[in-house]
């Protein structure tokens, strides 16, 4: 039996001796050498994902002006940020669109710009127009502010995403006879295509299905910088049905994450537009999984052939909340570019970038190998149910 502690693994990382591989690389290693031998060798398995994560946004402290101001409406490049908090604090959500955007009045709307794009431009070092209005008080007399800011000018700016890194997600299809414009992209009529959004075998929570090593305080790669898991994310559903390898066959766990926006990069935070739906932000996340024992290694060695996603009709079942699943397909099938739904071969396309997920896992691997990224033991792990196999 192999047993390792976080402290032992970190000592090996500091000494430059840690053996670190990606979740892609570990699978053939385990197949060739077996669990025990590989677990004795490998210390950390790195994961990665890069896809649209709508429940993302950033908190800003915009700095006090003279005279002072309690901002009641804040716009950044015409996109409104929430101000129902302290005087010059605001939260800019990734899916917020300008008030002037025609949205779906001319269907399908283009949604070319929104909160995610503002965040991308800020981390790229670009200037953003800040407009604020207020009712004015004795302590905060100023009523209007209009200026240009850069990320470096803002006293504090941190990404705080309430729901990221979904552990599995629906494959969107369309059984109706009209084109659908959804957050799962354009779905052509009569099973014209199937869109999916997960890094599969590289995805963080697929590699630690019961969240044995992930919880509050887990240090992660976030948007090109460092971040932390702060809580289970919104809609965290650990009780979702699971396969025998422990991985969920439906959307399950989620993460709330935080990190300093000033250390991030527009390469890993990208504003995106979904025709007829709205805007979002693609977020890059990577989580290192410590190989504490053979069980953790077994979890990380899971491959696309053993991971299954539910196929959901976005013309009826999803929008009406009926929950009917048309079938399960493996991520290996999805990545091949063609799946079978109701006996018909359907072209499958990803919305999340596997190429970038792999780059994230590689970056994290290199950082850990160099001793530039230490693992943290969570204060507590995410809520989990271990005995609900499908």
């Amino acid at each position: 039996m192999v047993k390792k502690t976080y402290a032992e693994i970190n000592a090996r990382i500091k000494a430059g001796e840690a053996v670190v591989v990606t979740a892609e690389e570990v699978t053939p290693m385990v197949r060739e050498r077996g669990l025990e031998e590989t677990a004795a060798t490998v210390d950390v398995v790195t994961t990665g994902t890069f896809g649209p994560m709508c429940s993302s946004g950033a908190f800003f402290n915009l700095g006090h002006s003279k005279p002072r101001m309690k901002m009641s409406h804040v716009y950044m490049n015409n996109v409104e940020a929430y101000t129902g908090i302290a005087a010059v604090d605001a939260y800019l959500g990734a899916t917020q669109i300008p008030d002037t955007d025609a949205a779906n009045k001319t269907f399908p709307g283009e949604f070319n710009y929104g909160g995610g794009h503002v965040i991308e431009e800020l981390v790229a070092g670009k200037e953003v127009v800040l407009e604020a209005t207020a009712h004015g008080t004795d302590c905060y007399p100023r009523r209007k502010l209009d200026k240009v800011v850069r990320l470096e000018d803002l006293p504090q700016a941190f990404l705080f995403n309430p729901r990221n890194a979904y552990q599995n997600y629906n494959v969107g299809v369309n059984l109706s006879d009209r084109t659908l414009y959804t957050y799962m992209g354009i779905l052509k009529p009569n099973l014209g295509n199937a869109n999916y959004s997960s890094a599969g075998q590289l995805s963080p929570l697929f590699n630690d299905p019961y969240y044995r090593t992930i919880g509050m305080g887990t240090r992660i790669f976030l948007g090109g910088g460092e971040g932390y898991v702060t809580w289970h994310g919104t809609q965290h559903a650990p009780g979702a049905p699971r396969a025998h390898n422990g991985t969920p066959i439906m959307p399950a766990g989620t993460l709330a994450v935080i990190g300093d926006l000033k250390g991030m990069s527009s390469k890993w935070l990208r504003g995106v537009s979904f025709l007829g739906y709205g805007v979002s932000m693609m977020v890059g996340i990577g989580i290192p999984i410590p190989i504490l024992d053979e069980e953790m290694l077994k979890y990380t060695s899971v491959s696309d052939e053993e991971l299954f996603a539910p196929v959901m009709d976005y013309s009826e079942s999803y929008p009406q909340g009926l929950g009917e699943v048309l079938g399960q397909v493996s991520y290996a099938q999805l990545k091949s570019g063609e799946i079978s739904v109701n006996g018909k071969l359907v072209t499958a396309a990803p919305l999340s970038s596997y190429f970038k997920a792999r780059q994230i896992a590689e970056i994290l691997k290199d950082k850990i190998k160099k001793g530039a990224f230490l693992l943290t033991e969570p204060v507590f792990t995410l809520q989990s149910f271990m005995n609900n196999d499908a």
Partner: protein, 135 residues
């Protein structure tokens, strides 16, 4: 009946000539101006959709070229901006001509210009707006 979109480049010397009038009156062509940037004494560009009988079509295009107008079929103007592309692959399900494909197992997007029919579906289907029409 033929119907095709073209990008027309007008040298500065001819931008003030009424080409649309000639195409309609002398060559019996239907001219749909999709986008145009024409200014006096400056080089101009326009995107037009021409429709008409095969013979008129050919003669109309030859007329434009004889007057110094450069004529390109529109498909040359769809551009893949690689640095904006996140290699997600959303475009590959939408492209009807197989010009945008996933390379496996690398899972990277490839744009095959020669297969592009300039339908422009990809322009709005790309979440990161990495496909552009350039005029």
């Amino acid at each position: 009946m033929l119907k095709q979109k073209f990008v027309l480049y007008f040298p500065a010397a001819v931008t003030e000539e009424p080409f649309t009038y000639y195409l309609i009156k002398d060559y019996n062509l239907m001219v749909n101006i999709i986008r145009a940037d024409i200014n006096p004494r400056k080089e101009g560009r326009a995107v037009v959709e021409l429709s008409g009988e095969k013979e008129d079509f050919q003669e109309g295009l030859e007329f434009l070229q004889s007057r110094g107008v450069k004529v390109f079929p529109l498909e040359q103007e769809i551009v893949w901006v690689e640095e904006r592309c996140t290699q997600c692959g959303a475009c590959t399900a939408i492209c009807p001509s197989g010009a945008l494909v996933m390379e496996r197992p690398q899972m990277t997007v490839k744009f095959l210009n020669d297969r592009c029919v300039a339908c422009e579906y990809c322009i709005k289907a790309c979440p990161s707006r990495a496909m552009e029409v350039r005029f």
